[in-house]
């Protein structure tokens, strides 16, 4: 009897494996077809709805975020298979510190566990050659999480196939504020260093140029943005159906396509990703034309 049960179990396992292989094969065929059109270079995700998912499934607090992490790993795998080079995720906002201390602590513990797991040999970062950046006001994190994050950044610095940007203790307005501060400091230092030039009155053009150089330019702010290590996202996907940016990548998503599938983040799947990319492909040629004109 036990032998029979064992045999059935092995058969089920075999069937599951077979199904997995069939799905994997179909998925790769689908990706080949999609890749005939333009593929986005950079995808950004707002992973919203973990807690609602836990409540919906009757799970305990914290399980929603764990399920969310699994969904994230799946999404990263799909992005890698599709050849998407940059992926940015909104892991923890500065605003989220205002939540209940128990929830914040639970999230910090989960993040510490998952960040450390990235350092393991079998982890996805080594499998796919991912370079990881942690973007945000890291000084707001506790020492353990910050140290783990810095260790991961150092360990993956040489990877170059795919780039994963994890926004943690991040707010777009905070990012812009820091960039504005740095630009002000740099400009003032430059002015002091160069001293003042004496121009002839007729040398108006040179004086105009000097005034222009003294003024802060857009590139000055942009090069001081933490997200300047990646190009702007082509698509921003926010799960759970909410249609707002929630202070995420405001500067970088000016021309990004915005998608808000109704699925909660742990429920996000292949079909949402494919739908977002197909929509992107529809408006891509028009946007490229506009970019060239600008």
């Amino acid at each position: 009897m036990a032998e029979l049960a064992g045999q059935i179990k092995r058969m089920n396992g075999g069937i599951n494996q077979l199904l997995e292989q069939i799905f994997g094969f179909s998925r790769r065929c689908l990706f080949r077809v999609i890749s005939m059109g333009p593929i986005p270079n950079h995808l950004a995700f707002i992973m919203d709805g973990n807690r609602r998912y836990a409540k919906k499934c009757g799970l305990e607090e914290g399980s929603g975020h764990k399920a969310g992490f699994s969904a994230l790993m799946l999404m990263l795998q799909y992005c890698y298979e599709l050849g998407i080079k940059y992926v940015t995720i909104y892991a923890f906002s500065i605003d989220n510190f205002r939540r209940q201390p128990e929830e914040v602590q639970c999230l910090m513990d989960l993040m510490l566990e998952k960040i450390k797991s990235l350092l393991e040999k079998e982890s996805i970062v080594h499998q796919y050659g991912i370079r990881v950046y942690f973007i945000g006001n890291l000084a707001l994190l506790n020492d353990q999480v910050r140290d783990a994050a810095e260790e991961v950044m150092k360990a993956t610095a040489k990877n170059s196939r795919v780039v994963l940007l994890i926004c943690i203790a991040y707010n777009s307005t905070d990012e812009i504020l820091q960039a504005v501060k740095k630009s002000c400091i740099n400009k003032l230092d430059n002015i002091e260093a160069s001293g003042s030039y004496k121009h002839e009155d007729s040398d108006i053009e040179a004086k105009d140029m000097e005034n222009q150089e003294k003024k802060i330019q857009l590139v000055d702010i942009e090069e001081n943005m933490q997200m300047s290590v990646a190009p702007n996202p082509d698509i921003l996907i926010r799960s759970s159906g909410e249609t707002r940016l929630s202070n995420f990548l405001l500067w970088q998503t000016g021309n990004s396509q915005l998608c808000s599938p109704a699925a909660l983040w742990p429920e996000i799947g292949l079909r949402h990703l494919v739908w977002a990319i197909l929509n992107f492909q529809r408006s891509h040629s028009y946007l490229e034309k506009r970019k060239k004109q600008l």
Partner: protein, 305 residues
């Protein structure tokens, strides 16, 4: 309260609003409609709170029943997209689309004032739009001038304050003069503030705020360490209003992008993407957008208990 409706002979279009006493307790008021629907006459008791409002049909004086007054957004922003496509679909020239767009805007401004929205910001011309054909740009600016001239009286009477934001350095001088007159002439109006973004981009706004701050640091007015989000907010062009952050952003024509409009200010704004092209976006589209807004749960990064 009695309400009469009379058709609009042309001479009535220039009629100024006014009130006169019929008796000790009764006021008789009349005003031209913003969109030439006719002249409304209204008699109301002075015992009730008498506040000057443009008069319309009875059912439109109050909010539509689908909307709840306590959940109305204070500040609505609109990206008026789709004029060109609308004109193409109708077999017309692009400027006909822009003309139709102005009419649609007039309707939305009127509805906003009536429904208690305090600030309405519209994206009229972006820095990216400078690449359009010169003939279209010239037409747009002359349309803007004509609209400002013809609507100035209406704005004044409807207690609408107009403000313009954006890089005005490339605008024609005649338009700039009209803008200044319009802003000056309506600056004390309190019912609705209409902010028109011309030559505007969100990045440009942050950049000019940054330059303003840098200048203040250079002049010794503030220290670098004192630069915070509040300071940037003060320097942004939306400092012309008490409510610089839109609660709701509507973009028409089905495009799912923000296109560099009000970058900093959109941090927590609810976004609504309408399928209709802008000239077709009227009362029903506006109600749909506002209803969607009222159903949203806004948490600002925290948790709803």
């Amino acid at each position: 309260m009695l309400s009469l409706r009379v058709p609009t002979p042309t001479s009535f279009r220039r009629l100024h609003a006014g009130r006169s006493r019929l008796s000790r307790d009764c006021l008789f008021s009349y005003s031209p409609s913003f969109v030439n629907r006719g002249v409304r006459l209204r008699v109301r008791s002075t015992k009730s709170e008498v506040v000057f409002t443009p008069t319309e049909e009875e059912e439109e004086v109050t909010l539509p029943e689908e909307l709840q007054p306590e959940l109305m957004p204070k500040h609505v922003a609109i990206i008026m997209d789709g004029n060109g496509r609308w004109a193409k679909n109708q077999g017309l020239q692009p400027w006909d689309g822009h003309r139709a767009g102005v009419e649609a805007l007039k309707e939305i401004v009127e509805l906003s004032g009536r429904w208690g929205i305090q600030v309405l910001t519209v994206f009229a011309f972006s820095t990216d739009n400078w690449i359009r054909p010169r003939i279209e740009i010239d037409f747009l600016f002359s349309l803007f001038e004509r609209s400002l001239k013809s609507e100035f009286q209406n704005l004044a009477q409807n207690n609408v304050r107009i403000s313009i934001i954006g890089d005005s350095s490339k605008l024609p001088k005649s338009l700039l003069r009209l803008i200044n007159e319009g802003e000056e002439g309506t600056k004390n109006n309190k019912r609705l503030q209409l902010i028109v973004a011309v030559g505007y981009s969100g990045k440009y706004d942050v950049l000019q705020a940054c330059r303003g701050i840098a200048q203040r640091v250079k002049d010794g007015e503030i220290d670098v360490d004192e630069i915070d989000e509040g300071l940037i907010e003060q320097e942004l062009e939306t400092n012309c209003t008490e409510f610089p952050y839109p609660d709701l952003l509507i973009r028409t024509s089905g495009e799912l992008r923000v296109s560099n409009f009000l970058l900093w200010q959109l941090a927590y704004t609810e976004l609504f993407f309408a399928q209709e092209l802008w000239p077709d976006f009227g009362r029903s589209g506006y109600i749909e957008a506002l209803m969607s807004f009222q159903q949203r749960q806004r948490r600002f990064g925290g948790r709803k208990s």
